[in-house]
Every structure is written in structure tokens, then in C-alpha cells.
Symmetry: C2
């Protein structure tokens, strides 16, 4: 091939000369060795150790004022996570204590590995729903499936972190996540309505569940409903206290007693869950003391004490049910991919929000490693999959947390509760826990986005609605797959059918400019469309193929260019390329296409095509 700089009219176009010389094999090998050395060096450095164990960065600077803040924040988060954990475990289809089993080890591990001071790991609404969807054990109340899912999610996340595959998350678009979250919140809220109304035998599948609730509404237990609705109302009221804005001209003028009162209201709002659950348990205990039994559905007996620290079971044996690890893996199926990805998305999204709010930087890869390690180690304590919790991270941040050490305080409080309080959990009414969940998940529903997208981007709105509806109709686990699949198709389509701009010069030459890369999905399409354009219409036209917007090519593109040249040559037409960048030039040169010519711009190409007969320039042998 020839570039225009060396082009001599009348030559046969075969002289090869090029600015960018491909590097020799020896040079390439040297470069590779250098890279390996550098990589080896960087892996062993102190900086890398600090990046992998962020605690080494902040612990040496730790001070006494930090302790005070971290302890207060840790205790506040602990008071939130205990009632939430007991409640979420029900969404996961497990006995309440598993919510607490999942609430401490993640905090401990994150303290060593996390890069955000605010994040607090533990059970969340979405992860609980996913566990209840993918890890359903055939034995009532058995957690074997959930624990295996925790281990596998951790391994997948850790692997993704080490291989730097966090990039996958970028392919799940915002409307999809938004629709999925709203659908999950609605599914969870409906699943808790049965506890509020005290209904039995309600299906787990969303549409059936809604039908069952309406069909059985006559069987509502009046005591459960009264308590449930009261709790719900009080929770909404108390939570408002936390977000109250006081109108003061000058913050310094506010009197001390006022400030104490406000701080108290805030604490009350933040600890609302705990207050409600304790009060409801008190009511239930009182009723039992008055011998009014069986009116309220209560938690009942649960296994007391700390969970055993042991290697999880990989097989399930119970009565006449025996399932191997393979059986369990097959049943969890797509959950082994979806659950770790969702965990990852939740943590990274939350970490980014608070990092921006509090002006520090997180390291997404390290976050991935931290959450992976947290899941792996947590599964030894019978935990179900955990991730970052938005509501508790907000509480942590507002409580003035300074370092991830607050997580140790939170985890310690949870352990204490497990050790001391389990006998008292007996009295907690199911309706109170349901109220805790409903008030938490309703905040996750974002209906404003519909109006925003209606104005801004209808395609994204369509994606959102399809994801949302399919999540509710065919199931939350398939809905997200539908959404991700569709959004990937939406980015793939233009790769296969790029927009191509055609212009005809005064000299009746066709100038073709595709708007993006020429790789295998589009290569054949581009060349075939060009052939069609060039050979239909009044006159056949020679072609200037402009590479301005094409930054890389692959072998399919090279083949297509060859084919394009051969096909047009049969019509006595020519093709020349313009604006070819240096990378592509090297690739084309290697492919050794006879008779191929490139020019630096369209004018030069056009001039060349005008004053040379096709047969003068090159004989194309393909």
C-alpha cells in the first residue's frame, strides 16, 4: 500500500513505505520483560500493602477524639441493625437469628479492608429478597443454601476484584437498577403485608401473593393488624424527626437546652426501629403476662447464643432429603452470578455517594476485595449474603463516624445482643418486624424518575418500565436479566449498524463516513452498503472511504475492505481510504492488501481518483 506522501503518479501503487514501523519481536519481548519487572516490583511494595490493607493507612493516625465519635456512631448503627436484621431474615426465608449472624463479621472484616469510613456491611433488603428467591432450601428454616450462596458470592466478588473485573458493573444501566430496586421494594412490602394482617398460606410469587392477600383479607387477625398499623404510623412519624430542619437565624444563638432537645429528637428518630420493636415486644410480653395468648403472632423460640464458627456444610441431609453440593449449585443457578453482582453494585454505589458527600476517595477494586472477603469469612458464622446498607451507612455518617473502627463497635453490640438478648426476642411481634421492613423499603421506591425520563429520554423510560413490569410479573430474578439484556442490546445495536454518512463530490465520487469503529459486528454491513450505494443510481461511482471516526479495525474489517475492493473493481470502480490513523495503517500494512491506497484527506484522494484511470493505478489480485 502507499500513503499519499510517497505517492508517485504513474507508479503501480505497490511500493511499501510507512512512517510507523511495527516493532520487532526482540523489542516487543524486551518491553514485555520490563512490564513484568515493574509489575513484580509494584506487587511487593509497601504502597501496595497499604492499598490492600487500608487499616495500615489510618490506624497509625488514630486519636482519642476519633474513639469517642466512632463509639457513638457504632452504637447508633448497632441499634439500627439489630431490629433490621431480625426483620430482614424473614424476607430471606430464614429464622430471625440469621439476620444477626449476618450483621457482625462483615463489619469486622470491612474495618481492615474497606476504603470508606462510612460504609457498614450487613443484611439488606435486596440481598435478603435475593436469598429468599435463589437459596430456598427444601427444609423449612434450613440455611445451608443461603450459606453456600454467601461463600460463592464472596469468591466471585474476590475474584472479580483481583482480576479487575469491576468494569462489568458499568454495563448495568441506571434505569435498570432503578426499576429493579423499586420492583424489589414493592415485592418486599407486599410480602410483609401478610404479617401486618396476620394472614397465613400466602404464596411467595408476586402476582399470586397480591391475589392471595386480597382473597384472604377476611381472615385478618385484628390484634396483629392494630399493632402493625400502629407501628407503621409511629415509624413514619419518628423517622420524620431525624430529618427535621430547624429554622434559626444564627446557629450559634440556639440555646443549650434547645440543642439537647433537638439532639434527643434526632437520636429518637434514628433509633426508631429499636424503640418500636422493644415497645411492641413489651406489649406482647404484657399481654402474655395477663394471660391473653394467641392474639398476637410473635417470633417465638429461637436458637440462643452465638453462631458456631465452622466450615459450612456443602451437602444437605435431613430426614429423607439428601442433596449434594452439585444439586444445591444447580438449584441456586443464575443466583451465583446475580447475587454477587448486585452486592457489588450496592456497595460501590453507596460508597461513591458518601465519598462525594464527605470529600474523600474510594478505591472500587479494593471495595470489591473487601466485600468479597467479608462474605467469605461471614459464611463461617452462618451468614447469608451481605453488602453495604444505604440506610445504616447514612446513620453512620450522620452520627459523625471518623474511621471504619466504628464497625467493630457495631459488630460487638450485635454479638452482645446474640449472647444476652435472644431469650427476649421471643416476645417480638411479627407485625412490628413487618412494619420495620415496610417503612425501610418504601423509601427505595423512586417514582419521580418516570417524569424525569419522560422529559429527558423516552428510550431509557421504556427500558425502565419493561424492567419494572417484568420484575413484578415474571419475577424479580428474571426482571433484572431482561433489563440487563435489553440495555446491552441497546449498546450493541449501533455497533452492528453504525450510521453512515454519504456525500457525493462534484466529480461524482462517493464519500463514505461511518460514525464509529469498523469491527466484526459492522464490517460486512459497511462494505455491503457501500457496494450497493456505489453501484445503484444513475452512474456507478468510485469510493472515498473516510476513516475519520474509525479508531481500530480487526481481521473481519480487513477482509471486508479486501472484498469491497474486489467487488467494486469488477465494475471498474476504485476505493481509496482517507484519514487513516497510525494504528490502523500498521494493521492494513500487515494485511498486505494489493493496490490499497491511503490519503491524508478527501481533497487529495478526490484529485487522485479524477486524474487516473482505474487500470493505471493498480491491478488488484485478491
Amino acid at each position: 500500500m502507499t500513503t499519499d506522501k510517497e505517492f508517485r503518479p504513474g507508479s503501480n501503487g505497490h511500493s511499501i513505505s510507512f512512517q510507523v514501523q511495527p516493532e520487532s519481536t526482540v523489542q516487543a519481548a524486551d518491553k514485555f520483560c520490563d512490564k513484568v519487572k515493574k509489575y513484580g516490583h509494584s506487587v511487593c511494595s509497601v504502597e501496595t500493602l497499604k492499598n490492600r490493607l487500608p487499616i495500615l493507612k489510618w490506624l497509625p493516625k488514630y486519636s482519642l477524639t476519633d474513639v469517642q465519635s466512632d463509639v457513638i456512631a457504632g452504637l447508633t448503627v448497632g441499634l439500627t441493625v439489630i431490629p433490621q436484621g431480625l426483620a430482614y431474615a424473614k424476607v430471606a426465608g430464614l429464622p430471625p437469628q440469621y439476620g444477626l449472624y449476618s450483621a457482625f463479621m462483615g463489619c469486622f472484616v470491612y474495618c481492615f479492608l474497606g476504603t470508606s469510613k462510612d460504609i457498614t456491611l450487613g443484611p439488606t433488603a435486596i440481598m435478603s429478597l435475593m436469598t429468599g428467591t435463589f437459596a430456598v432450601s427444601p427444609v423449612e428454616g434450613d440455611a445451608t443454601y443461603a450459606i453456600i450462596l454467601t461463600l460463592m458470592s464472596g469468591c466471585v466478588q474476590l475474584l472479580m476484584g483481583m482480576l479487575n473485573l469491576g468494569i462489568i458493573v458499568n454495563f448495568i444501566s441506571y434505569p435498570v437498577i432503578n426499576a429493579f430496586t423499586s420492583a424489589a421494594a414493592i415485592t418486599i412490602a407486599f410480602s410483609q403485608l401478610k404479617h401486618i394482617f396476620g394472614l397465613k398460606n400466602i404464596s411467595r410469587e408476586f402476582l399470586h401473593m397480591v391475589y392471595d392477600i386480597f382473597a384472604h383479607i377476611g381472615e385478618t387477625r385484628i390484634w396483629d393488624m392494630t399493632l402493625g398499623l400502629t407501628c407503621l404510623f409511629l415509624l413514619f412519624f419518628f423517622k420524620k424527626l431525624r430529618t427535621l430542619q430547624w429554622k434559626d437565624e444564627n446557629p450559634d444563638d440556639v440555646k443549650l437546652y434547645k440543642r439537647i432537645a433537638r439532639k434527643f429528637l434526632w437520636l429518637f428518630g434514628t433509633g426508631a426501629n429499636a424503640v418500636i420493636v422493644i415497645s411492641a415486644a413489651g406489649v406482647a410480653a404484657g399481654l402474655i403476662g395477663l394471660n391473653i395468648k394467641d392474639k398476637l403472632s410473635i417470633t417465638g423460640e429461637l436458637k440462643a447464643g452465638l453462631p458456631p464458627f465452622r466450615v459450612p456444610d456443602f451437602t444437605l441431609q435431613n430426614g429423607n432429603i439428601t442433596q449434594s453440593a452439585g444439586d444445591i449449585f444447580t438449584k441456586i443457578g443464575a443466583g451465583l452470578g446475580i447475587v454477587p453482582l448486585l452486592g457489588l453494585i450496592e456497595t460501590i454505589a453507596i460508597a461513591k455517594v458518601f465519598a462525594r458527600q464527605n470529600n474523600y476517595r474510594i478505591n472500587p477494586t479494593q471495595e470489591l476485595i473487601a466485600i468479597g472477603a467479608a462474605n467469605i469469612i461471614s459464611c463461617f458464622c452462618s451468614s447469608y449474603p451481605i453488602t453495604g446498607s444505604f440506610s445504616r451507612t447514612a446513620v453512620n455518617s450522620q452520627s459523625g463516624v471518623r474511621t471504619p473502627l466504628s464497625g467493630v463497635v457495631t459488630g460487638g453490640l450485635v454479638l452482645l445482643a446474640l449472647y444476652v438478648l435472644t431469650p427476649l426476642f421471643y416476645y417480638i411481634p411479627n407485625a412490628a418486624l413487618a412494619a420495620v421492613i415496610i417503612s425501610a423499603v418504601l423509601q427505595m421506591i423512586d417514582y419521580k424518575i418516570i417524569l424525569i425520563l419522560w422529559k429527558a429520554n423516552k428510550l431509557d423510560l421504556g427500558l425502565l418500565l419493561i424492567t419494572f413490569i417484568s420484575s413484578l410479573v415474571i419475577g424479580i430474578e428474571y426482571g433484572i436479566l431482561v433489563g440487563v439484556g435489553l440495555s446491552i442490546l441497546m449498546v450493541l445495536y449501533p455497533l452492528a449498524r453504525p450510521r453512515i454518512k454519504y456525500t457525493t463530490t462534484q466529480e461524482d465520487i462517493l464519500v463514505v463516513q461511518p460514525d464509529q469503529g469498523m469491527r466484526f459486528p459492522s464490517a460486512e454491513y459497511i462494505s455491503e452498503t457501500i457496494i450497493e450505494r456505489a453501484t445503484t443510481g444513475k452512474n456507478n461511482k468510485s469510493v472515498i472511504f473516510d476513516f475519520q471516526h474509525i479508531s481500530t479495525i480487526d481481521y473481519s474489517a480487513v477482509m471486508s475492505i479486501k472484498k469491497l475492493m474486489a467487488d467494486l473493481h469488477r465494475f471498474q470502480l476504485q476505493v481509496v481510504l482517507t484519514n487513516v490513523n497510525s494504528t490502523i495503517s500498521v494493521d492494513l500494512e500487515k494485511a498486505d492488501i494489493p493496490g490499497l491506497m491511503t490519503f491524508s484527506n478527501i481533497d487529495k484522494a478526490s484529485h487522485q481518483l479524477n486524474y487516473t484511470e482505474p487500470t493505471d493505478i493498480a491491478v488488484i489480485h485478491l
Copy 2:
């Protein structure tokens, strides 16, 4: 937002004015109705009918000379497909007659629906291997699975044709198809070696198969091997006859007897399979006549006559085995997607090659409909999945075929063979059929591509080798998935991590130019990288974000631009956009980002940023 044309220095940047007005809802509805009308009109036109039933185009012009050519071509292809069908059925794990059951109906259907005169549908090596891989019935010699796979493949292909989804094929790159084809050929060739050597109890899985063949080589049956190797040698020799090139100065000078002799040699080469199989059957029959039995493995008894025309069974019942349609679907699994796609790729690829060679045009969508319908109707005659055969299409083309009517002749000959010849098939030696298969598939292996890709594109070479090796090691059905997955990742990666060009102007303003679109996979990455660049280094810099190479945006991109502006505003820095095209302008205007400014080029933007203090221009409320 403001464009630079309306920009008045000192204004607050909020005045909205725009060239491209978004269309009103009424206008949009009118447009939609027009489209629907046009579509309705086009669906009912004669042109559409002719496009859907291409026989209506060529049959009215059919002449007597066409008949002669089509009959000769049809008979030649028939002579090829009968031995190939008997042989391929073994690769599919079915009794030999199923190869013939699959060889006629496709030709009949294609005659009505096909757009290529050369293509001939029927059993092929790849489809047979896929049937033998995905549709393995638990009952020896039972075809229920294969027939269901045919029906489902047909439905998937027809649906893809009607929904215009043939575009999916573009995402399977050439190196992947090439590696898959070579690996399939090697797998098939090895699977036939056992028949050449007369070995028993050889595993179906490639690595085990190779091991077993070497381990059992001592049990070779000498008569089978002698016959098999002889057939193989003769086949290679005869097939060379077909491709002989005669060196003559002037074709018109060649004497008649020479021309007849040459035509005879060509015919002999083309009919080599039939000649070899008939001769080998003669030898086997002679040996049995001489009472030399059990020396040669022969085909033995097979069901005589035509297959019944009936609705296929959806359940399998045999002895104590009962399987429902659901069981069978689950077992076929990914085959329900892979088999129709491969069938489609094979047919379209072949059709394109011959359309180019013989200078006509095919309609890919109609080809998809034709092959889908052929599979659906074929399954009523107990066919396994069929597609276009490269070798027989070549024979058809070289025999001078004029229209798809030749397929009717081919199909007729196959029916005749089934009706009359089945008793004679008894004597066909297995080794002879194995030789037919091996000589056919070895042509599919393309080793030259390795050297070409080594020179042209190492990334594609890596993809080819990984696909090839994984096809052989973990199985042909997973190998192609690995290849397709990797090649899609290769096109997706640049979407998430576009290359970004940074330049700093003399006035210390950062100019940022991403090399491709800003959509959800890359939006956040781009805005975060810009923030990092703008706020690190000696001085913080304001940013000119150049949209030259960005042709569309989505909601994620809008959000990222908002975030970028808010984050840089905290550092007292500004962001302005340049070279924004009209589509994006409309999207940005709808999103209503306060304080956003666009300029037609970098110079104007740079001038503006230089002479205005940040706070003068816009207060950003996000």
C-alpha cells in the same frame, strides 16, 4: 442552556433558544399513523408476496433449456447426498436412514421460498455433530430428541426471520466461526476413525475418544481397516479429478473426444462418494456370497421405505423410560439456541459466497424464513436439523443449475432411493461411510488462517486459538460459547473504557475529547476521569468537553454531565461543551441542566472561559 449563537456575555446563561425543536405529541402521533399505513400497504402488496414466495418471480420465466440444466444438476447432487446422508446420520448418532429422511423435504421447501439458485439444504457435518451432541436420546437409535430439535430450530429461525433478528449473526466473528468449524471437523474425523479401524466401545467425548482409539488400536479389525484406508485413498484421488485444470492455449481448439473425456472425469470425481460406496457394498455382498461373513462391519438391517408423514412425538416412552416434552427441552438446553444459529450462519455464509460468484443477490431475511420453514416441515418426515451444505451447493453450481427447481429433482431421487434401494443399503460397509465423512470434513480445516492472523491481527489469533482449544478440550458446544462470549467482550470493552484525548490550551484550559459515544457503560468513567485530570497537577483547570466524536447520549450521560459540573463547581471550575450535534442538543435541552453552555468550536469556548469569572456565568443548582 445557551448556544454560542445566542450567547450574550453577562447574561446568566439560562435563556433557552434552539434551532432543532422537538416535535409535538400530535405531530409524532400523525407520523406514527402514517408509518402504520405504509407498513400495512407494503405487507399486502404483490411485491411483498413475491419477496416472500420467490418462486413467483422465476417460475413464469422458466424455459425448456432450464429444465435440462436443472435435471442434470439435481441428479448430480442427489448422487452426492445419498451416500453423505447415510454417513452423516452416524455422526448424529442415528440409524443411517435418518440421513435420507433429512435430505428431501428441505429441497422441496427451499424451491418455493429460497432466493439463491445454488443452495441445497439437507444434512451437514456440523448439524449432524450438533444433533449428536445436544439431542442424545436415552434409547439407542431413537430420534425423538433429534426431531424435536429440528422443529424448535425451525421455529426459532422462522421467528428470527420474521422479527428481522438475523443481525445477531453479526456478533459471531470470523475467527470464532473458523476455529469452531476446524474443531468440529477434527472431532468428526476422529469419531469416524473407530469405524475405519473397526474398534468398539469408544467414548464420544473428544479427549477420551483420542485416548480410547490409541488404547484399543491393538483390537483393529484388519478387513475393516484395509477397506477403509483404500476407500479414503481412492476418494482423495477421485476428488482431485474434479478440480483438475487443463492447460490449453485456446479452449475452442480442444477436440470433442478430449472434452468428453474431461467431462467424464469431472463427473466421476463429483460422483466419487456414490462410486466408492456402491463398490464397497459390492465387495461386501460378494464376500457374503462367498460365505466370508463377520469380517467386515456392515450397515445391516434398516427400516425400509419412506418415513411416515406425521406430527412428531413430544414425549418419549420406551420400556421403563418415560420423558415429557419438558424433560426433553431441558436436556437439549442450550442446543435450542446454538443449533438454529449455526444453521443460519452456515446457510447465509454459503448463499453469500455463491451469490457473489454467480452475480446475483440474496435476501438474508428471506433465507432465514426459508430455512426455518424447511426445518419445521422436515420434522414431519422424521428429519434431524438441516441447513445449507457447502460441498453439495458447490456441486450444484458447477453442474450448471439454473433455478431452485433442481432441488425437486434431488429430493425425488432421495425418495426413490428410500423406496427402492433400502434393502441394498444392508451391504454398505461402515468403513466406507467413515471414509466418505473423513474426506468431506478434512476440507473444512483451515490451518492457513493461523499464519495470516499471526501477521495481521494477534488479538484475533488469540481468540481463534482459545475457541479452537476450548472446543476440543471442554466440548464443541461450549467452545463456541466461549468464543462468542470473548468476542462480545472484545467489542464491549472499548464502550466502557473509551480512549480520551487530553490537551491543555495556552490559557491552561483542559480540552477533553473521548473517541466514541457517551452512554451508560462509559458515562461515569468519562466524567470521573475528567474530574481527576482537572483537579490534579499544578493548577486546577476549567474544562472544554469536546463532543466531536460523540453521536448520541442517554440518561446516564446526562446525569454524569450534571455531576461533572457540580463537582468541578466546588473547585470554582467550569465545564463547557463544544461540537454538540443537534440530536444531543435536544436531549440536553430536555434535561434542563442549569448553567450548561455549548459552543460551536473550541476557540470560542476557550475565549469565553478566559474572559469571564466562574461566578459571573451561572450559579449551578443541582
